[in-house]
Amino acid sequence: MTELYSKKVMAHFKNPKNMGRIKNPSGVGVVGNPVCGDVAKYYIKVKSKLKKGKTVEYIDDVKVETLGCGAAIATSSMATELVKGKPVNDALKITNKAIAEALEGLPPVKMHCSILAEEGIKNAIEDYKKRKTKKAKAKTATKN
């Protein structure tokens, strides 16, 4: 029987990874497509560690809440898997193509789901960076 989705998509759809919320997240990214109706909310927890004498920020935890079709659920699950534990700068390089490939492909009409997943991760990281600058500014302001 011809399948609608690849085995990998169905595996992630049946058993999505990293679903839920993070309390006190470092950053949150919301993406949605009003036409197709998919909405996803990504939460990240960023921590720092020393690597070769340098401080490296990495994604310690990532979670997502998804309202959407099979592809939307699978891509958000895969996106979180791909960035979990990765340095923030590497996570920013995530592409929709990489997400789709990791899922053994998506039907053409569902490719936009992988774009949403990419944007969701990136939005969460940008939100984290914004919060960080704001905090730094607040710190210097109190110092002065």
Partner: protein, 395 residues
């Protein structure tokens, strides 16, 4: 794994009586009904019988029935046929239809409109999917030649006041210079509602075989005597010169057989009882579910439910994994990424369309089937809502 089919509005399983008939026809009756010899004549007789059965069902004459390749072709023929039948008699013909028609009516009207040959009014419906017959009357212009309104909607099952509109048009026609013809798409209604064309006061009516438990690839258009209709497929004298092409003999003969099972009160009541049971249980066991469509003026076999905070395709896929077949108005399954035009016309809310599931029952549905759905569905909805960013406070 259980295999439960609740998508009768898409197509119905073949009835055993039809199955038996097909087998006997396949092995013996292969003749071309246009042939003069005995091989042709015996098939011609069977087609004539089918036409008579259908004529009885529609309360019309055999000459008023045109067999087509299905409901879509019949709807195309009705609309394009009447418009081109009026050619040269009117500069810019006007059609009135509704926003909730099947695409085989809507897209035909849109394409005629695009070619600037026709003016079209698309009527709104209320939040239950009902057409207001006074709105139909208001939309009528001096150049109106055709009104096409479905008998019952395929997504939500709402039944439109066809008889009331038909009588209104008939009354208006007595005083009008330009006669208005009235078409109804009875594809979904066929099995469940009275399709007496005189009772309904219609000039054209579409019926489809496979929704009645017969074969795919055969349908019919009732065309009242003296309705101007130009053929859309030409190249032969078949179907009273209105639809050329060698007849789909198997499809037509089985369609003629299948109408015998339509409007069977006992069966209809049984299906309605099961539908009500399914709907009641879901509404009781699952929070935040809203029915779409009119709750009384509705086909007895359809319930269309909106599950808040979840998306239709993910419900459908999960049910499919459990062997249950349903359908959704969600954009994600349409291929075009557009949410259901029917639910959008009723609610103007894409969210409502995205979370909607249509359960359509039929002749083979059992209480055991429904019990299995009732047992399976709440777990699926709960799981999907757990991963959804919305509706958390309600749990």
């Amino acid at each position: 794994m259980a295999k439960i089919y609740l998508d009768y509005a898409a197509t119905a399983p073949i009835r055993p009586e039809i199955n038996k008939l097909v087998k006997s026809l396949l092995s013996q009756k292969f003749g071309n009904p246009s042939s003069i010899h005995s091989f042709g004549r015996e098939v011609r007789e069977l087609i004539d019988n089918a036409r008579e059965n259908l004529a009885k069902f529609l309360n019309c004459t055999s000459q008023e029935i045109i067999f087509t390749s299905g409901g879509t072709e019949a709807n195309n023929l009705a609309i394009k046929g009447v418009v081109s039948g009026f050619k040269d008699k009117i500069d810019l013909p006007h059609i009135i239809t509704t926003k909730i028609e099947h695409h085989s009516v809507l897209h035909v009207c849109q394409s005629l409109e695009k070619s600037r040959k026709t003016e079209v009014t698309y009527l709104d419906v209320d939040k239950n999917g009902l057409i207001d017959s006074s709105e139909v009357k208001k939309a009528i212009k001096p150049n109106t030649i055709l009104i096409s309104i479905m008998y019952a909607n395929n997504e939500v099952g709402t039944i439109e006041p066809i008889r009331q509109i038909g009588k209104m048009i008939e009354k208006l026609n007595r005083r009008r210079e330009q006669i208005i013809y009235f078409h109804t798409d009875a594809i979904q209604a066929g099995h469940y509602l009275k399709c007496d064309t005189k009772y309904l006061h219609v000039d054209l009516l579409t019926i489809s075989g496979h929704k009645l438990g017969s074969l795919k690839g055969a349908g019919a258009l009732f065309v009242k005597k003296n309705t101007p209709l130009a053929p859309q497929i030409i190249g032969g004298a078949h179907e009273y010169n209105l639809r050329a092409g060698t007849e789909n003999t198997l499809g037509i003969i089985t369609l003629g057989e299948a109408v015998k099972f339509a409007n069977n009160i006992k069966e209809v009541k049984k299906i309605q009882k099961l539908r009500n049971y399914l709907e009641k249980k879901i509404l009781k066991d699952i929070p935040s579910v809203e029915p779409n469509g009119h709750l009384i003026k509705r086909l007895p076999n359809i319930t269309n439910l909106n599950f808040k905070y979840v998306e239709g395709e993910s419900i459908l896929l999960n049910l499919d994994l459990k062997g249950i077949a349903v359908s959704t108005g969600s954009a994600c399954t349409s291929g075009s990424l557009e949410p259901s035009h029917v639910i959008m016309a009723m609610h103007e809310c894409p969210k409502r369309a995205h979370g909607s599931i249509r359960f359509s029952l039929g002749w083979k549905t059992t209480k055991k089937n429904i019990d299995y759905v009732i047992k399976t569905l709440p777990k699926i909805i709960k799981r999907l809502r757990k991963i959804s960013p919305f509706g958390k406070k309600e749990y």
